[in-house]
């Protein structure tokens, strides 16, 4: 029977309407997914169901919930309206949010935060046992109860968020992008946990995500949203097998692993030689306690040839970002040596000579932080030319224009400021900035992870073309194996600071040897 009824939901912020008449239903015990890209209104829809819309939002249309399996439907009120006789939040609806790092009160112990969720709704003598049971149900050790949130990892915090949502035994669990901020393996684990919890409690689930693969893995019914409108709905299997609408087809296509593009260039002689580098960081320690270190990298050695694309993958915390920064010259290694195009560097700051710096560029993950918001694009683009003072003004301008054109953008955009561009455009400009000096090697740290799924393919295509046309080598760091498979020739798999496996990308993916490689491959949510 019907648990949640949403009828013609419209949400606006002032004059701007962001959700335009969405209707959806959730049956008792049914798992429903809402999928859409950023700006589709999916989160707002979820918030309106639990009654937690931001103050500035106005809502029309009705959201009603059936309570205690009756045919009586209670309308959900917003958080500002004084509570009706029945408090739906917590008791009948539980919610898990996206950001594990900030969802928990940093000053309260974990156990107390769970306890509060129970005590608000259930008058029971065995509260402590219930807390322990919940912690066990989300597969965490009992010692977690006395801890504070900052002592837990993102994945652990998300599990606690789940425990809190389940505390009062609600009929509906809403999960708003619960895994987007987690790494692949943890993502998989949390999704499996949600599934088993819903099964065990026969609880309905509303799962919000931009990741079609995750939604498909969990849900029986799917709603597709675009820019505030309901585009398509249907049973998961039917929808994925035979999508009717264009947008749905686009989403499905984008979620499929990108096809590899074979390029016609041969890999040249070794360009970058990394030998025996390592790095450890000191941990804050208590007074009089022995100093503790974490070994971020240990004895790393590998090579990258000219025009070769080497992928670097591993779970979060494996050291791949630290490694990429050491190679780029932003950090130093405590042992070993680096040799780039004949120049040795890496053991002290500023050990990289100008001639080497010119040949090595980097593209970062966050397109929003990649450019100084106060400078127009032209000024940001000219910055790398600091390393080539011998060029005159005309030559400099030519270089910048060439780079911008190569990434498929217009040179008269250069007068604008970063905020005028979309995420995808900014990432292209970041690539253009990297190309201004015509480098031999570009280090890319998660270059497409922050982009919408539909844009990723274009940017990866661009990167492949550039490599083919200009013979640039790449070190491509990513947590997403499908992305790496689409662009890399060879792949290095890292775990806990060491390279555990390397080889040609097809071999490693089809015939993984190391445990972590198998785990990473299994964590991929395919459809």
């Amino acid at each position: 029977m019907l648990l949640v009824k949403v009828e013609d939901l419209r949400i606006s912020f002032g004059a701007r309407q962001v959700v335009n008449g969405i209707s959806l239903n959730i049956d008792l015990g049914q798992r429903v997914g809402v999928v859409g890209e950023s700006g589709s209104g999916k989160s707002l829809t979820a918030l309106s169901i639990i009654g937690l819309l931001p103050d500035a939002a106005t809502q029309t249309g009705t959201v009603s919930i059936s309570v205690h399996n009756s045919s009586q439907y209670v309308q959900v009120s917003s958080a500002n309206v004084p509570d009706s006789a029945i408090n739906l939040r917590g008791e009948h609806i539980g919610m898990v949010f996206q950001e594990p790092m900030t969802s928990l009160n940093p000053l309260m112990r974990i156990g107390d935060q769970i306890r509060e969720a129970i005590v608000l709704h259930i008058r029971a003598a065995d509260v402590d046992e219930r807390v322990a049971m919940l912690i066990a149900e989300v597969e965490l050790p009992a010692s977690v109860e006395k801890r504070f949130p900052h002592e837990l990892s993102g994945g652990q915090r998300q599990r606690i968020g789940l425990a809190i949502a389940l505390a009062a035994e609600p009929e509906l669990l809403i999960a708003d992008e619960p895994t987007s901020a987690l790494d692949m393996i943890t993502q998989r684990q949390v999704i499996d946990l949600i599934r088993s919890v819903c099964n065990k409690r026969q609880m309905a689930l509303l799962f919000i995500s931009h990741d079609l693969g995750a939604v498909a893995a969990l849900c029986e019914k799917i709603y597709v949203l675009e820019k505030g409108n309901l585009v398509e709905e249907g049973k998961a299997a039917d929808l994925l097998a035979a999508p009717q609408q264009l947008y749905t087809k686009k989403l499905i296509a984008a979620a499929k692993p990108i096809r590899r593009r074979e390029i016609g260039r041969q890999v040249g002689k070794p360009l970058l030689k990394v030998e025996g580098i390592s790095r450890k960081f000191k941990l804050p320690s208590r007074l009089f306690a022995p100093k503790q270190y974490v070994q971020a990298l240990g004895d790393i050695s590998f090579e990258i040839g000219e025009a070769e694309c080497v992928g670097l993958v591993g779970p979060s915390g494996c050291g791949k970002t630290t490694l990429s920064r050491i190679i780029a010259g932003l950090q130093i290694s405590q042992t070993g040596s680096l040799d780039f195009d004949g120049h040795k560097y890496g053991r002290t700051f500023d050990s990289m000579p100008k001639e080497a710096r010119r040949e090595l560029a980097m593209v970062f993950q966050d397109p929003f932080g990649s450019f100084d918001p106060r400078l127009d694009m032209a000024k940001s683009m000219f910055e790398p030319l600091n390393l080539l003072p011998s060029l005159n003004a005309k030559e400099q301008l030519e270089r910048v224009h060439q780079a911008v054109e190569r990434v498929g953008l217009d040179t008269d955009m250069l007068g604008r400021h970063p905020h005028a561009f979309s995420g995808g455009q900014r990432q292209r400009l970041a690539i253009a900035r990297a190309l201004v000096l015509r480098p031999k090697l570009v280090v890319l740290d998660e270059p497409v992870s922050a982009l919408d799924v539909s844009i990723r393919g274009e940017v990866l295509q661009l990167l492949s073309e550039l490599r083919e046309n200009y013979g640039i080598a790449y070190l491509f760091v990513s947590h997403d194996l499908d992305v790496v498979h689409a662009v890399a020739d060879r792949v290095l798999v890292m775990d806990k600071g060491h390279i555990v496996e390397q080889g040609h990308v097809d071999e490693v993916f089809n015939n993984p040897q190391a445990q972590i490689t198998k785990q990473l491959l299994a964590a991929r949510l395919s459809m």
Binding site: A328, G329, L330, K354, R357, L360, A361, M362, F364, Q365, D366, G369, S370, F371, D372, P373, R374, S380, E383, P384, L385, N386, L387, H417, H419, R433
Partner: protein, 289 residues
Amino acid sequence: MAIENSTSLLRRAMAHPSFRVGVIGSAAFLALALVSLVWTPYPTDIVDIPNRFASFSVTHWLGTDYLGRDQFSLLMTGIANSLKVALLAMAIGAMIGVPLGLIAASSKGWLEAVILRFNDFIFAFPALISAIIITTLFGPSAINAMVAIGIFNIPVFARVARGGALSLWTLEYVDAAKLSGLSNAQINVRHIFPNVASLLIVQATIQLSLGVLAEAGLSYIGLGTQPPETSLGLMLKEAQSFFFGFPMQAVIPGLAIVLFVISFNLLGDGLRDTLDPKLSKAGSINVAG
């Protein structure tokens, strides 16, 4: 955060009514101060005993003081002197404190630790205590008050600059600048400083109004501006002796201080809301310096 040119910024700021009040008030006081440098309705150094303690009239808008001098002229000069001290003290704080804060944010290691210790240390010496030390050694004067207030402004600006800068150093465009071969100093000048500038401007207005209050306090106890010069605090000191008979002597300069400080604070608040509503997070929530 949108980057706009100054005219549209001003237009947006003027939309806030409190900002409008602040601008008008501050402008009025500044105008009075500037005008007083060249002209006042009556000269402030001529004594006119028979006319002392006159109440408001057409000839003397705000009456006269215990020496028969025109209150309005005294007020104008007083505002100018108070403003001078506060302005220069703010400049001392900013010119030394901001570079210290930026360097601390970019250095890490021992340099940062030294600067932080130094900061903490000066926080223990409020303007009054520095003023006491300086006046014990060198005698009281407006300049010494200025230096004392300025010394305390240094760690305030250093802390705000450092706070704002620290969050910027983790951004990718700073890494990009390093990869382009820019040194830390170049990055500070080119990227960090312009992006903390709005934070510093707001802090400057706060320190300015605090400086006026501090100058008033120091002059009131005799450690600041000395006669025959006049300042708002000094007027209050002189008024205290006659307070019970002629309360207006104290009310007028005090009111002037209150109105001036409110105007400047509203100006600062309006600026902060316009430049970046999230500013209060980046630096310290520093209402009192």
